[in-house]
């Protein structure tokens, strides 16, 4: 290889990797440093306060509901898009992609305006003693909104790829639609679904903007882990903020590893 080509190749490599290091790797490395700056026990006690634990628990609860809802929706919607004929598929696709185009605070605002006292559904719920805003239901709705597209988008191409001949074969062997779905379709798409679930989980766990608006950020009650981190940081309890961030970052890295293994299984 000519010297000039080699220079170009190495130059490009170090440019790209250098960019990555400066932007991503070093900052993430920093939070571990900051988290344990005052020792391990200080870090540990900062994230095991009742408020902190409640925040983590709440985050997991909300994410779990959102993931289950969006997975069922995602698989059903993907089947609809790929295996049936109807007009308006383009519109459906556009609506599914909407959460990608919309800012999370706008999502929060939309829910505020809908379920608030003067909102269309406001009185319907409040008069019956059901709290949507500043409570779990609102936070769940917000999280479902922003994490909606992932499972659909991952399952659709897989459904296209496997084709429907296996499903036809199952039919000729006497299977009804549920048996076909459960025993033939679902196993065939499982890695696509898995990958979508992982993406949905990551997005739901990390949700900040929409939930910040909709929850009222009531400490100990409607604060999720990201919101708790924000509060701690704002109150200069940096150890707590950094340690919780580290925990969330580790969860994110675990998510990445899961994403990778699913991607590989999907490819094979």
């Amino acid at each position: 290889m000519a010297a000039r080509d080699r220079l170009g190749k190495y130059g490009l490599r170090y440019f790209a990797l250098g960019y990555l290091t400066m932007l991503l790797l070093i900052p993430v490395g920093m939070i571990s440093y900051r988290a344990f700056e005052h020792g391990f026990s200080a870090a540990w006690s900062s994230v095991t306060t009742p408020d902190a634990l409640h925040a983590f628990l709440l985050t997991i609860e909300i994410a779990a509901i959102a993931v289950v809802a969006n997975t069922i929706f995602g698989v059903g919607c993907a089947l609809l898009l790929v295996r049936t004929k109807f007009r308006g598929k383009a519109l459906l696709n556009a609506i599914i992609d909407l959460p990608f185009a919309i800012s999370p605070v706008v999502v929060g605002l939309a829910l505020l305006l809908l379920y608030g006292r003067t909102g269309w559904f406001g009185s319907m719920f409040l008069d019956n003693g059901v709290q949507i805003l500043f409570a779990m239901p609102g936070m769940v709705l917000a999280t479902i909104f922003i994490s909606l597209p992932f499972v659909v988008r991952e399952v659709v191409p897989v459904l296209h790829e496997i084709g429907d001949e296996q499903e036809q074969a199952a039919q000729t062997l006497g299977a009804n639609w549920w048996q076909t779905f459960w025993r033939i379709t679902l196993p065939a798409i499982r890695w696509g679904v898995g990958y979508g679930v992982v993406l949905t989980t990551a997005r739901a766990l990390g949700e900040f903007g929409a939930v910040a608006v909709v929850s009222g950020r009531i400490s100990g009650q409607t604060e999720t882990a990201p919101l708790w981190v924000w509060r701690e940081f704002g109150q200069f309890n940096t150890t707590g903020a950094y340690t919780a961030s580290l925990v969330l970052a580790l969860i994110a890295i675990a998510t990445l590893l899961a994403m990778n293994s699913f991607k590989r299984k999907e490819a094979s």
């Binding site: 490009l12 490599r13 790209a16 990797l17 960019y19 990555l20 932007l23 991503l24 070093i26 900052p27 920093m30 939070i31 900051r34 929706f73 059903g76 089947l79 609809l80 295996r83 049936t84 109807f86 459906l92 609506i95 992609d97 990608f100 185009a101 800012s103 999370p104 605070v105 706008v106 999502v107 929060g108 605002l109 939309a110 505020l112 809908l114 909102g119 269309w120 909104f145 909606l148 429907d164 036809q168 993406l199 766990l205 990390g206 900040f208 903007g209 910040a212 990201p226 919101l227 981190v229 924000w230 940081f233 903020a241 950094y242 961030s245 970052a249 994110a252 890295i253 990445l256 994403m259």
Partner: protein
């Protein structure tokens, strides 16, 4: 072949779910924002703070996308064409901004490039700081849309160009780039939409100053101070801009797929 007998039921359920989760809230947003009539809407959007916030978001988004076009393509290239130890690790790390909560992203950047920076770089409360945060969260978009295209690219085209005397740069410009164009456009659209709407990573770095208040930060501030009309107007504007950009880029991608390839 349509096989699902329960298709109408399925369609009904999907429509119901999407309505409750997405459509009705958006409809409420648009409706409430227009409650003061078009003139009220216009006044809210053109107030000085609102305008400067929108302008800031747009300008930063454009800058960020431009930078990402270069760095994203470079990263994708290195990941597909180059070989070095730890490549698989690097490949997974690219997705980190997707997986990391945005507020954590903000904190990590501040840890390194903020007030107590160990390397002496302090970009907290600056527009540069916001730009860096936006670069962080939009990193994966262009890389991930370009990678599969590069993987599929027929090497023989480049070999043919080389045999005809083209330099590597010319080959890139006239053979490779046109084939990457649709993927670049798609990645640009996603990155742009994400950049103008980004909130979590930006809120810590911006420090609540007017000069660093992007549109989402403005919206949030208005909500906190009870001015839901102002918030709504700018929200709808932001949404419309995002949709327009997606639409335009969608058309360009369609055209590009038909002609460039």
């Amino acid at each position: 072949m349509p096989r699902l007998g329960g298709a109408p039921l399925g369609r009904g359920l999907v429509t119901a779910y999407l309505s409750v989760i997405v459509l009705i809230p958006i409809a409420a947003l648009v409706s409430k924002s227009l409650e003061g009539g078009l003139s009220g809407f216009w006044d809210s959007v053109t107030s000085p703070l609102a305008l400067s916030a929108l302008k800031l978001s747009l300008i930063l988004a454009v800058i960020v996308v431009a930078i990402n076009l270069v760095t994203g393509t470079a990263l994708a290239w290195v990941l597909v064409r180059d070989k070095f130890p730890g490549k698989a690790l690097v490949n997974s790390v690219i997705d980190l901004p997707f997986a990391l909560p945005t507020v954590v992203a903000g904190i990590t950047l501040l840890a390194l490039y903020g007030t107590n920076s160990p390397v002496g770089i302090d970009i907290a409360f600056t527009r540069v700081g916001i730009t860096v945060a936006l670069l962080f969260v939009t990193l994966p978009f262009i890389v991930r849309t370009v990678q599969p295209v590069l993987l599929e690219l027929d090497r023989e085209m480049e070999e043919a160009a080389a045999s005809l005397g083209a330099s590597p740069f010319t080959t890139f410009r006239r053979v490779i780039f046109p084939n990457l164009r649709p993927a670049l456009l798609a990645g640009t659209a996603l990155a742009f939409a994400r950049a103008i709407g980004e909130f979590g990573s930006v809120i810590l770095i911006s420090g609540n100053l007017p000069k660093t208040q992007t549109a989402p930060l403005f919206i949030f501030a208005q909500i906190e101070s009870g001015n839901t009309e102002g918030a709504g107007a700018v929200s709808v504007t932001l949404l419309v801009i995002a949709l327009l950009v997606l639409l335009v880029i969608g058309r360009l991608t369609h055209w590009s797929l038909r002609h460039g390839r």
